[in-house]
């Protein structure tokens, strides 16, 4: 069969590939950034074009933003737990983060409800439609993040997440922080422009 040297060499390659996964995640994040950069520039271009409806962002988006910030902190804490091998708090951390994400999604839906109450509809002046598109598209990405959390949770149940095997949770944490940052950007963008 194969010589030991080849197997060792292959293992070295695999370890490199692991780093490559993280790298690929970053590339994915860059492309998501470009997606939202495109959308928010479209917003500005359209706004400067005139025929633009001004309205106040519903208060509830502030609450959802706060919830999301807490979930970022909780994700950070979860990651620390994995690093310190405190597996129990790792599990609870994941569950708690997931719960906050669900609350966040619920609040976003409520936010849309409030927009409707103030007569800002998805169908209508683009200034309102943009809010729905931004928050909706962010939610889609958040759902992906939630799926990722579930994967990590299942891995924890199988004792596969610990200080010597941090890759998945590291990637999950990166993605989670990114989602948080993305929403904060979108929220501030919308508040400043309204």
């Amino acid at each position: 069969m194969r010589s030991n040297a080849v197997i060792l060499a292959n293992r070295a390659i695999k370890i490199k590939v692991f780093n490559a996964k993280k790298f690929a995640l970053w590339l994915f994040l860059i492309s998501v950034c470009m997606l939202f950069a495109g959308l928010t520039s479209a917003y500005l271009v359209k706004k400067s074009d005139g025929n633009w409806l001004q309205f106040d962002m519903p208060q509830i988006f502030l609450y959802s933003t706060i919830v999301l910030i807490i979930s970022i902190l909780s994700m950070h804490w979860t990651y620390r737990s994995a690093k310190n091998n405190t597996l129990l708090s790792l599990k609870w951390g994941l569950l708690f983060t997931g719960l906050l994400a669900i609350i966040f999604s619920y609040l976003q839906f409520e936010g849309w409800g409030q927009l409707v109450e103030t007569n800002v509809f998805l169908v209508g002046n683009p200034s309102g439609s943009f809010v729905y598109v931004f928050s909706g598209l962010h939610l889609v990405h958040l759902l992906g993040g939630l799926g990722f959390l579930v994967v990590v949770f299942v891995d924890t149940l199988k004792f596969q997440v610990h200080s010597k095997n941090l890759l998945t949770i590291e990637m999950c944490t990166t993605y989670w922080h990114f989602l948080g940052g993305l929403w904060i950007y979108l929220y501030l963008f919308l508040v400043i422009n309204n």
Partner: protein, 616 residues
């Protein structure tokens, strides 16, 4: 802790077992759902060839309509069915559908997926010395998304209402309103669905290419030793990663306008005297978003072809590429500039003339790095020991098209000139030379050059020469006259010109172009025969048929999954040591250490030699 440690070791051990099983995989995993980058490359190539035949066939049909408007097309009824009327006339809406499909197919399916997909996949691991892509699975997914996208687009061509018909640039409101034309109904929906899969495929592929180039280079393969092919594929992937998401944004808003009734791109539209409810949108917004992708996209198409040309021209001139660093610099400059010139497609949208002149300035700057590339090709050829393989001829053809098509870009880049030339056949001539034909020649050059590595056999050279001359002359005969037609004011995308007195004197020229197009298209069947026949029956290829320096020629005649049976070779020098003074042969492969070539080393090489044992 100890338990988990054991688990890790077991997991690794298991993965190694897995590795050993590769050799006797069932057919379906070896050839269809393969994760081997070489197989995936061939899948992209074959699918691309299929689309190229279809896209080319469409163009011949609509050229017939333009060149011989009175012709009886009844003979096409068996293929096109009701799109040919009983009097043998082509349906005008279907004419629009055909030019739309032709553009979409050629730009995206042939020259993006077929070109980047094939050669990035095939050459990146082979030329940087890697066993495969960073993620074989993502790579597999990338192909199958492309396949799905192809299937959807293909199906859309058989709808009774026809496929999308608003041009490959799908400008709203035409594309946004199903009432506007029959192709804007289901056909447009399928176009959008297909495009979503296509973008997913491109992004997955691109992420993989970038990751692989950055992480998996073999020992010694520094960025300064990368072949220019890899540089080109790498930057192309970066361009795609940055620009395709913007197309997603653009298309997403269009989907909302079409399906949910929003008004991002729509405002104050009357159809049949009825006002639509949409208010407050702007179709110009679409153009901004579209061309922010669209312009980088044209460089996504041409850069890989230029990369292939660099490699082929240098090898077959038996000379180092002239200005390696300048070549890299110009790729980077083009990539950067391509993001800030998009509005030159929009000079007549009523943009602020001041803004127009800024974009004009930036557009003309892009001619500089483009010219640097052209000059470097010519100076590489200059006094070289030219070997005219078919691949070399096609590369030289590319350089010729790139120059003659680039020159007309300078005209169009001037906002004042563009006002009269926009949307005429002059633009059609410009981009078919500089992008269409040039990139197509790059693709062909790549196939002729790397066929021996792909299939272990040689293509027939004589047929290659006939194919080249017919195609080269044919392309000029087709597109050169279009400049005159464009300057005369023919708008592009019109079904017929017989009603305009001013255009009567161009009837002959139009007929001539059509005949040339049909002959050029016919010549491609020589290539198809040459390609498919020699996959099975060709002469067995030697290991290094072109005496080339790059790593792919150090693999066995038909490499297995994993590419090299033993260790991955180490790299000691750049890939362009052709005809080095003092050297025994006129080429020194990248795997030859400086310590073995004292007769040809420069002082600098001798310095490098000292680190050979240690460097990485």
């Amino acid at each position: 802790m100890s338990i988990t440690d054991i688990e890790i070791t077991q997991k690794l051990a298991h993965e190694d077992d897995h590795h050993e099983e590769h050799h006797d995989q069932p057919f379906i995993f070896k050839y269809i759902f393969s994760t081997d980058h070489k197989t995936i490359a061939k899948q992209f190539l074959i699918t691309g060839i299929f689309w190229a035949i279809l896209g080319g066939g469409l163009s011949v049909i609509f050229r017939l309509q333009l060149g011989f408007p009175d012709m009886d097309m009844g003979f096409l009824q068996p293929i096109l069915g009701n799109w040919i009327s009983n009097t043998g006339k082509l349906d005008p809406e279907f004419y629009l559908a055909m030019i739309t499909m032709h553009g979409t197919i050629m730009v995206f399916f042939v020259l993006t997926a077929g070109l980047s997909g094939t050669f990035s996949n095939f050459l990146i691991p082979l030329q940087i010395g890697a066993r495969d892509m960073a993620s074989g699975f993502l790579n597999l997914l990338s192909y199958w998304f492309f396949f799905l996208s192809s299937v959807v687009m293909f199906i859309s061509m058989f709808l009774s209402t026809g496929p999308a018909s608003g041009g490959w640039t799908i400008y709203p409101p035409l594309s946004a309103l199903p009432q506007a034309m029959s192709g804007s109904g289901t056909g447009m929906t399928l176009w959008l669905v297909s495009m979503v899969f296509f973008i997913a495929s491109t992004l997955l592929g691109g992420i993989n290419y970038i990751t692989t180039v950055i992480n998996l280079r073999t020992e010694g393969m520094s960025f300064r030793r990368l072949p220019l092919t890899i540089w080109a594929f790498f930057i192309t992937a970066v361009l795609g990663l940055l620009s395709f998401p913007v197309l997603v944004a653009c298309v997403l808003l269009l989907v909302f306008d079409r399906s949910f009734g929003t008004s991002f791109y729509l405002s104050e539209i009357f159809i049949g005297g009825e006002a639509l409810p949409n208010l407050g949108g702007s179709p110009i917004l679409f153009q901004h978003l579209f061309w922010f992708l669209g312009h980088p996209e044209v460089y996504i198409v041409i850069l890989p072809a230029l990369g292939i040309t660099s490699e082929v021209i240098s090898t077959n001139s038996r000379k180092p590429i002239f200005g390696y660093t300048a070549m890299i610099g110009s790729i980077l400059a083009i990539a950067f500039l391509s993001f800030i010139v998009w509005a030159h497609h929009m000079f007549i949208t009523g943009m602020n003339p001041f803004l127009g002149s800024i974009f004009m300035f930036l557009t003309l700057i892009i001619a500089i790095p483009s010219a640097v590339k052209a000059f470097n090709y010519i100076t590489t050829l200059w006094k070289g020991n030219l070997i005219f393989t078919p691949a070399m001829l096609f590369s030289i053809g590319l350089v010729s098209f790139f120059i003659s098509g680039g020159l007309t870009g300078l005209f169009l880049g001037n906002a004042a000139v563009d006002i009269s030339l926009h949307d005429t056949y002059f633009v059609v001539a410009h981009f078919h030379l500089v992008m269409g034909s040039a990139a197509f020649f790059g693709l062909l050059a790549g196939v002729y050059h790397w066929f021996p590595k792909m299939f272990g056999r040689m293509m027939d050279e004589k047929l290659g020469y006939i194919h080249f001359w017919l195609t080269f002359v044919g392309v000029y005969l087709v597109f050169f006259p279009l400049h005159y037609i464009g300057i005369a004011g023919f708008p592009r995308r019109y079904y017929s010109f017989t009603n305009f007195d001013a255009f009567q004197s161009f009837t002959d020229l139009n007929a001539f172009v059509t005949v040339a197009a049909a002959i050029t298209f016919g010549a491609q069947f020589i290539f198809l025969f040459n390609f498919f026949y020699n996959i099975f029956k060709g002469k067995k290829a030697p290991l290094n048929p072109w005496n080339s320096n790059t790593l792919e020629w150090t693999t066995p005649r038909i490499p297995e999954h994993g590419n090299w049976p033993g260790d991955i070779p180490k790299v000691y020098r750049w890939p362009y040591d052709y005809s080095k003074p003092g050297a025994k042969d006129d080429f020194i492969p990248q795997t030859v250490p400086y310590s073995e070539t004292p007769e040809s080393n420069t002082d600098f090489d001798n310095e490098m030699m000292k680190n050979e044992g240690i460097t990485k």
